[in-house]
């Protein structure tokens, strides 16, 4: 699965879309991790994500930890309502 990526100075924005589950999670990692490893700040635009499960949340958590290790950061942008609901539930656990 391909995701649109835009660059502005040292920030890369990844536009995720559709349903992010275990089957898609590795595709998302393959896009985000190299950007983090290159030292860029990564913004994940989630406005077009209709569904996200624990695998998607795991990608966000892993990305955040990886970014911290690389002295950069991950930010979530335009979080859709379905994703916000899952994030709220995940915050009780993490």
């Amino acid at each position: 699965m391909k995701f649109k990526v835009t660059d502005s100075e040292n920030i890369s924005t990844v536009f995720l879309n559709g349903e992010i589950d275990m089957d898609i999670a590795d595709d998302v990692r393959e896009v985000i991790f190299p950007l983090i490893d290159s030292g860029k700040e990564v913004h994940l635009n989630l406005k077009d994500v209709q569904y996200m499960d624990s695998s998607g949340i795991s990608v966000i958590v892993e990305s955040s930890k990886r970014a911290k290790d690389k002295n950069t950061k991950i930010e979530l942008k335009e979080v859709s309502q379905p994703v916000e609901k899952v994030l709220a539930m995940a915050r009780k656990f993490l």
Partner: protein, 145 residues
Amino acid sequence: MNTEVADPTNLSEKKDFLVRSSSLKDVRSFSREVFEKFKIDENLREELVLAIAEAAQNIVKHAYKDYPDTQDRMAVRISCTGKELEIAFFDKGKPVEESKVKHRPIDDVKPGGLGTFFIQEIMDSIKFKEGDKPWINNLVLTKKL
């Protein structure tokens, strides 16, 4: 998809899926179709879809951990009595060790248990049973409506 009982106060639908991650979207589609048919509260539907998908994912990730290319199928049955929803999962994978999937103490959290946590948050009860032949595992989730 087979409707087992036509009585609108006692509906049941069952479908089987190949045990692999690419089947998860089909599990979600089946669940959404059934909830539409059963006229389940729209505010509840996507939470239930998440719980079902997480349980199916656990079968792929754990019960079939060492068999990624299996041709085995898992079955999902959704039943509604009007007051309660019961969702049953059947698989022929490694027997579930219930102690490994129970809710952990709050100071013992690990990211890997997030899917199970979601199921616990959304559903009212979770029961692991031995499956009747040919099944090995039978997970039953319930939710009062």
